[in-house]
Symmetry: C2
Subunit: 371 residues, 2 copies
């Protein structure tokens, strides 16, 4: 395979169809889409556009939803820096699920993992980012009565007690095969998958009722659920189920995911108007070398990060995105126009988000689980 | 080497001199004994008889004691079952150190480790034993103002936060080389050394003063301190120092340490009078096949578990133990006599200990650290 996807690393241009085969997940097919549409009254943009494209046992959750039975949502964030739009994508979808089904959401901030993984990050830093990132979660409007956010290091007692039950059932061989651990991997990272597994069982413990969990997350996180699913029933819980989205590509080009270590590869929620304008101005597009050429031959929206941002997040109107695509292919719409359009969309979103994000500071405590 | 010593396993007859070389520790020599005698006013039985025989940087602790500077004691117990006399040996010595130097003692109950290590032990079981074993610690008379006992799972938040700082600096290679981990080892056990390392730094955190720690423990625990010493200064703490004792041999013969899985190999603190009588009656000795032979050729105290129990723990009078040894070698003292003598000594100890142990239930809470 000419690409690589792990929870910590993405290399090459991802072939998501191949990833489904490699990971052993299931495509969200037309039948499932029709069922979701029926259950929820509408299909979210991310489903219509196959941004959420893969799952593990999502039908089990649909069964429960249809029978008015409880389930819990679980997602999270690795707080190695500020939140960018790629992080928010699965959260927006998680909110859609919470809105439609009134499920409790458990939101994990993996400050321990990011500290263990990144040589130069201190625990103090990742811990600070955990709560900075939590502001972005809250700003999206999750139900404060049904949303529980925790930092791994502030909730370590509860999590460690669950994690060791998982860890006892996972050998180094298995962890190595699933995550590609090496002899040089530190022993904290080797144990860490059991900490990320723990919230799969947390709702059953806190709500005192054996409960399946649905994890909406980018597909790079799937290796965790594979390990967790192998262990779940052996320790008395339901297997976690998952619904996977693609990774929002870098503004610098279609390969790889965005990265906090390359600030111009992504739009962060704390970016200023100037940041956004600069980043979109410099973004990689599918345009030709000259306007003349582009008018003659058209652009290539497939590889264009500006088009992808519109397609994935900011042009919610299906007709309009189709028109824009055609316009680009025909040579009628130039890159500059798309950039201005996207910049306006992002600035409108950020202006509102940043306001809500600041207000979130006052209510942060209401959302937190701590030992 | 024809013996093997790890924190979880002892095989063969241990050559402690070779272990000092293999582990890279230092013999407690005559010079150090004289210094301890001068500092403490007397030499503990365990030092006179070389039961504590090895150390790492104990001279650093003696320097501090001589300058009236603080240090902290740290020892622990793996609660896989009830406490036996082999466990108590280092605790008695720890109490001697606390009495002489007024140091704070941090006492770790590794209920997580025993759960992770032993297939058939539940967490509920090891957790229960943690507090049962704590009663034995308290019964020995540690200063309630200066003694802090914690179960790993009840103190997991504090410990995990320290442990990940250690874990980040320990690769799988290192852990494998030091502990003999294999591909089939579970990922909880692989991480666990960082949990056992954490209390080395706990006193510095709780007492808000960078503080060296002295660990009195059986030498099989030394691999933990080796790893911890490599990391300590890199994360801003003093290297832990250690003082090592031998393992009390099994009543079934001189090889191996006593084991909770073979109840007749050891005297447990909860044993009844009948248990003790039976176990000592059946204990392995250095006696000959017949009384006649023994009178003629004498016995062999070196391999005799009854003699060792007297030598290590119950005959504190140096002249009397010498006489008994000679009497055995000369064929004047028979095994039956030693067994009766030892049985009486043990019963006297247990009667008093069990009384204190029950009283300890009422004050247990005063000793505990919890998150």
């Amino acid at each position: 395979m000419d690409f690589k996807v792990t929870p910590w690393e993405v290399e090459g241009i991802i072939d998501y169809q191949k990833l489904i085969e490699e990971f052993g997940t299931t495509t969200i097919d037309e039948g499932m889409l029709r069922r979701i549409e029926k259950d929820f009254g509408e299909l979210h943009l991310f489903l219509r556009r196959k941004i959420f494209f893969s799952h593990r046992d999502f039908d089990i959750i649909l069964n429960r939803i249809e029978k008015n039975q409880k389930y819990a949502l679980y997602t999270g964030r690795g707080p190695s820096g500020h939140t960018h739009l790629g992080h928010i994508m699965p959260w927006i979808f998680t909110k859609y699920l919470q809105d439609k089904t009134k499920a409790n959401l458990y939101f994990q901030m993996t400050d321990d993992e990011k500290f263990l993984h990144k040589r130069d990050l201190t625990l103090e830093k990742t811990h600070t980012f955990a709560y900075e990132n939590a502001l972005d979660v809250i700003a999206l409007g999750f139900d404060p009565e049904k949303t529980f956010i925790f930092s791994d290091i502030d909730y370590a007692k509860t999590l460690y007690n669950i994690a060791i039950k998982v860890a006892k059932r996972v050998t180094f061989s298995t962890a190595k095969a699933v995550f590609g651990f090496e002899n040089s991997t530190n022993i904290g990272m080797i144990f860490y998958p059991s900490i990320q597994a723990a919230p799969c069982f947390l709702p059953s413990i806190l709500e005192k009722e054996k409960m399946p969990v649905l994890i909406p997350a980018a597909i790079d996180q799937d290796p965790y659920w594979r390990i967790t699913r192998d262990v779940a029933e052996k320790i008395g819980y339901h297997k976690p189920t998952a619904i996977h989205c693609i990774l929002l590509p870098s503004l610098q080009g279609a390969s790889g995911k965005m990265s906090a270590s390359d600030p111009d590869s992504a739009i962060f929620t704390v970016d200023t108007e100037e940041d956004v304008k600069r980043k979109i101005k410099n973004a990689f597009t599918g345009g030709k070398m000259s306007l003349k050429e582009q008018r003659e031959y058209g652009g290539n929206p497939e590889i264009c990060s500006v088009f992808q941002y519109l397609h994935y997040l900011f042009e919610v109107d299906d007709l309009k995105i189709e028109e824009r695509k055609k316009g680009c292919l025909n040579g009628n719409v130039m890159c500059g126009e798309c950039k201005i359009y996207l910049t306006e969309k992002i600035l409108t979103f950020l202006k509102e988000h940043q306001k809500r994000r600041e207000k979130a500071r006052d209510i942060l405590e209401n959302f937190l689980l701590k030992d």
